[in-house]
Amino acid sequence: MTRQDRIAALTEALSSRVLVLDGAMGTAIQALGLPAEAFGGPQLEGCNEHLLLTRPDAIRAIHAGYLEAGADILETNTFGATPLVLGEYGLADRARQINEAGARIARELADRFTTADRPRWVAGSVGPTTRPLSVTGGLSFEELVEHYLVQLAGLHEGGVDYFLFETCQDTRNIKAALMAAERLFDQGAEPIPIAVSGTVEAGGTMLAGQSVDALAVSLEHLDLLYLGLNCATGPEGMADQLRSLSARTRSRVGCLPNAGLPDDEGRYLQTPERFAAALSRFGREGWVNVVGGCCGTDQRHIAALAEAFRGLAPRRPPCERRSALSGVDVVEVTEQTRPVLVGERANVLGSKKFRELVAAERFDEAAEIARAQVKKGAQVIDLSTQQADRDERADLRRLLEKVVQKVRAPLMIDSTDAGTVAMALTWCQGKSIINSVNLEDGERRFEEITRLARRFGAALVVGSIDERGQAIDRQRKLEIARRSFELLTGRYGMAAEELYFDPLVFPCASGDAAYHGSAIETLEAVREIKRALPGAKTVLGISNVSFGLPAAGRPIVNSVFLHHCVEAGLDLALVNPEGTRRYPAIDAHERKLAEDVLFCRGTGESIGKRLERAVAAFVDYFREHKPKAVELASLPLDERLARHVIEGTKDGLVEDLDEKLETTPALEIVNGPLMRAMDEVGRLFNANQLIIAEVLQSAEVMKAAVSHLERSMERAGAARRGKVLLATVKGDVHDIGKNLVDIILSNNGFEVIDLGVKVGSDRLLEAVREHRPDVIGLSGLLVKSAHQMAATAEDLDRAGIEVPLLVGGAALSRSFVDRRIARSYGGLVAYAGDAMSGLDLAKRLVEPARRTALAAELAARRDSDAFLSAPPPAAAAIHTRRAAQIAPCPHAPQPPDFKRHVLEGSLDEIWAYLNPVMLYGRHLGIKSAVVRGIDTASPAELARTEPGRKALELRKAVEAMKRECRAGAMRARAVYRFFRAESEGNAVRLFEPGASDAAVELSFQRQPGPEGLCLADFVSPVGGAPDSLCLFLTTAGEGVRERAEAYKERGDYLKSHLIQALALETAEAFAELLHSKLRARWGFADGPELTMLDRFRASYRGRRFSFGYPACPRLEQQELVFRLLQPEELGVTLTEGCMMDPEASISALVFHHPQATYFSVLEPRSD
């Protein structure tokens, strides 16, 4: 068997079962009790790798033992065999020989145990060395690459099947090892797979600070054999980390724990049975592909593991990509988190002070600017030292030395010099972003920089510049973005999610006519790019827009522009977070002045004239005024307190709180003006008036206020009601809710132990054992925290804890608690909707009689609500024979392309397809006979009868609502895509262009009986004529729910209903219109004689079908439609229950077959 055959077999085996690696090598060597001579003398005692040369028989025996125990994969005994580590024994020059020997010995054993149906493989073990670059330093990145290269060359020569970089504690070391592998393959060695295994300490991070999430993001560009975790803890202690890793990575996942935690004498005591039982849980959860043992494990552990994993299915890695960046911390770039703020001040062009510090070579102080930006809200830091009169690369290297010690946020490397970028990336643990590439010199820079991006796993800023220069108008911006996108995702192998398109911001008031209206063009380009390039993100340098305007007014223009960019869909914004003003806090007149300049509004025949007048007005105003701040001092005290929270400012907060304390108890201040202000912050956020970073600043102010007031709250005396352990769950840093609960409980006689934020199960378990609380309180703000609470409850339960659990937080609901958390935990679980109900529940939980009553009350409700997934009823015999009366289409029409198309519909064009019977009859309750006259009869005729008069009034109201919709209250959008399709039995397979494997397979039900129809019958069978099918989704629901709620709040119930009904029918009408266009694209456009009534009666060729309706009633397959169409870009998401949100959304499968007809696979009703 050649090495490539073995690798192919390994990949195949990984897809069908969980593979078992061997156990600890050091433990096994120690167990042999070898004398110093065996190692080559006392000076080499402890150098396990040297045994490969001195006692190969001992290593052979250990390998054989593991193979006999059932291991599929052996690790070579080369963990510390870099020249760097061997040098400590004076063996650096024998490194290659040792590695080669290690590989040959393992290979020999693996081959000996390999049978035709059970291959065994060899992993070349590569340890972290003794120098984590980010922690100890002591050698350069390049030197470390050279050390690894020697080791990898030896292992490769000796015949390993893959390299395993294990016990990794610093991602910079991993990157050095990866670069060494790349260099080895470039030198002509046959490429082999690579696996990486990190070591996450009990504190939840690797030694160099990254969490498992950050590690996964940093390596997501690689096609790893697997990404795993080893060492540090026993299997129980890895559950949290493994759960996160499994949820995050697109790689396969490995897990090699220690045999528990060592005792005082360093012995690992976990029994093989317990070890295997704990690990097999991970298998049952579907989290792992490779398992094995680390410190303290031996043959017995591996035998138990092999037995426990027999028959367990491996993890199926997810395939979707996400946009994320990382430094030590991770920043996700999603619809919920945007705009991500990039601090622009650590840039010689962006800050005079920074430039001067760099020039003075005061790098420590320069790095402080980066840190200050993070403190003020920046989530990514842009770094640039590019100055004509200095050595950019040397400056940046010296700056990075300091920055990586001070800043945990991801870095944006801002340089046009590829060498500088390459150097900078070796300093970054995480996934950085390179600013930028463009087509100014054709593809040269693409070639240069993408090579680096792929090697280091960096994202790219892509500028709207090509050979013709900078793009100013939206069409050119989009055209360049499209071209760049196609090149970068095609020829250069970047993923769409790693691309951040910069449509460029120009000074809006520079006087240069070329830039008149450029702010609008940039905004619209953001919108267009987001629509046209699925998965890609956008970025803008905001401050450029106000260049040339009076300094006093620039922050206003920048902030207003940022607000509009975010509304247009901007993902990353380069700003000075200190100088950004909150949109709702900007004085209305100043906002108008800024918008007039940005959008060239006002009087004047030409855009130039309008802009000139707008700029003159702006300049006149800001020459004499500073931006208006609300005069806080003049406001009533309660309002002042609220403004502190809403505007995120702590200036004067303490004074105002102290004044309020003179008349009001602290707790009432918290529950009164402060909580009301937080509600307002939430409302402004929902109305897109605040961005997430501003919400977090408000939360900070709230936290500071609570913390100040806490001092004024009298703690209850010695009489204790009980002890409560409080924690914000893992992955969440929001603790306002928890802190409130702490204050309230503490003031009501409870002893509270606050474990703080980001508390994982292990830490919680430890604290429970130490403090023996009466109640455990878990809190969290984020949606993912709700799921983390369920996972934490499960871990507590598994550890045998039964202390009552009190859970609360913004993302929780009572039903989630009942259905998910309470079921994961044997003890009592109660949901606290707010801090005061938490107090009430805590009191009940610590009094035995009341606790019993509470338990009974909760059990009664949950019993009546309980729904454990019942298995589906036994399926009736399914037949898959194609209905004979549906002939395959001999010459199926071909669509013009298989690309994904995103459309913005014109409301008036869509409303021409609105079915009045459905709108007026079905939703608004007008009798059918009257509806028929609504668009044909004269008003006078209709007004003769009461129902007619009612219909007239409604028509008037609908027309008024349509006017509001045209003015921006409604937006109709759609996405569609043709797919190559074939059918087999009851299934339809859809293919990506050029792919031979199906992208998805849709399974449909068939009517019973020999002639029963199935949707698959309308697609050519396998081997038949090439065929196609179209998927589409229309939506008109964006913002409709909120508007309906607002009308309802105002008591305008008719309008509330009208907008919802109109949105539903608009989505339906858009479906009708789009279906008509699709027929034309297929080449059989509707004839002129086809009336709208004919369309409503489906008197045309082909049909569209939606899941949930009688021909395809099962809703689960909506997920596949979503996967293919990605309508999230239109703001449409799929709920867990397969409902589309917003509601006014229609998805459909469109078949062109002339015999396609509506039918039902449901049993007919018995009436």
Partner: protein
Amino acid sequence: MSEAPAPAAPLAPLPTTGIGSLPHTQLELALQLALRVDIPYLPQLPMKDPAELMLPQALEGLPGLRFDREGAVTVQLAEWERRAADFEDELEQALATGTVAAFEPSAGFACAWRPFLWEVESRRLPVAKVQHAGPSTTRWALELDDGRPASALPRLGQQLYRLALARTIAMTRALLDRGATPLVFLDEPALGLLAPDEDTSHRRMFEELRLLIAALRGEGAIVGVHCCWSADWSSVLELGADLLSFDTALSLPALAAQAQALERFEDRGGSLALGLVPTDGREADLEALAARVVATLRGAGKAGERLLERALLTPACGLALRSVAQCERVFDSLKGVQRLFRERLARD
């Protein structure tokens, strides 16, 4: 019950129907599911809007009504007192003149109501089912904002009864107007908590319910009572309803033990709506379930046998808190149970 209205069109034996709530947030998809059963029913969608939870939906229009996301209902006393007289005038006017259309559910509290009526008419459905929380349950669940129960204000209790009457009559007439025989179920879980002999207020609630049932029957509706808790079944069977809907796993043995009351109920033409398919997570062995229900009813004598033959089949309760997939499985199981029942009755 001799004057009980007969269904307008014959239904095949052992028809299926639903209880009411569904987990959907998209109206159209919920309607599609509710139209699959033999007797289509008005879906309530509380996951889309808590106003569609049983109690808020039934109390729409009550002055001072407030409700939370869990469906707990309270009355703001000050507001109620300010508007109570006007509300009573509206009710009086509507009930005295028979112009109750204004009391049909609005789209804000029952988004499916108008589309459902449209479907009833356009599909020419012979029978259509709606459900509404009964006055005993609204009176039991409603609290005043000062923490007292609704029963503390007799005037409010009277309004609750009259509101239920006006709304269910309005719904009955709307369905009749669309050509369907209305099947109106009064959802009365609180019956399980009331013993008619316990005190006068309980007796009054039973009396009110009896009157409401009689009034709806007089309008031409087939009237059912749904109670998914344990109850004093002999009293419930005497309420005069055409149908009694209950969770068979929970209540069938207790109900069957009321042999005389059951016989009188059957003799008056009453039928049972058997809540068969568990919605509480119990894994259903449908064969065993069918066998057990058949045996229990047959054990109740000839009345039981006849009740079995003309029973309706339903899930055990509403489905709002389940997932859509679970909900679909429940309805699949219901079809399966229907097949088993029909086979068993044909065989025996």
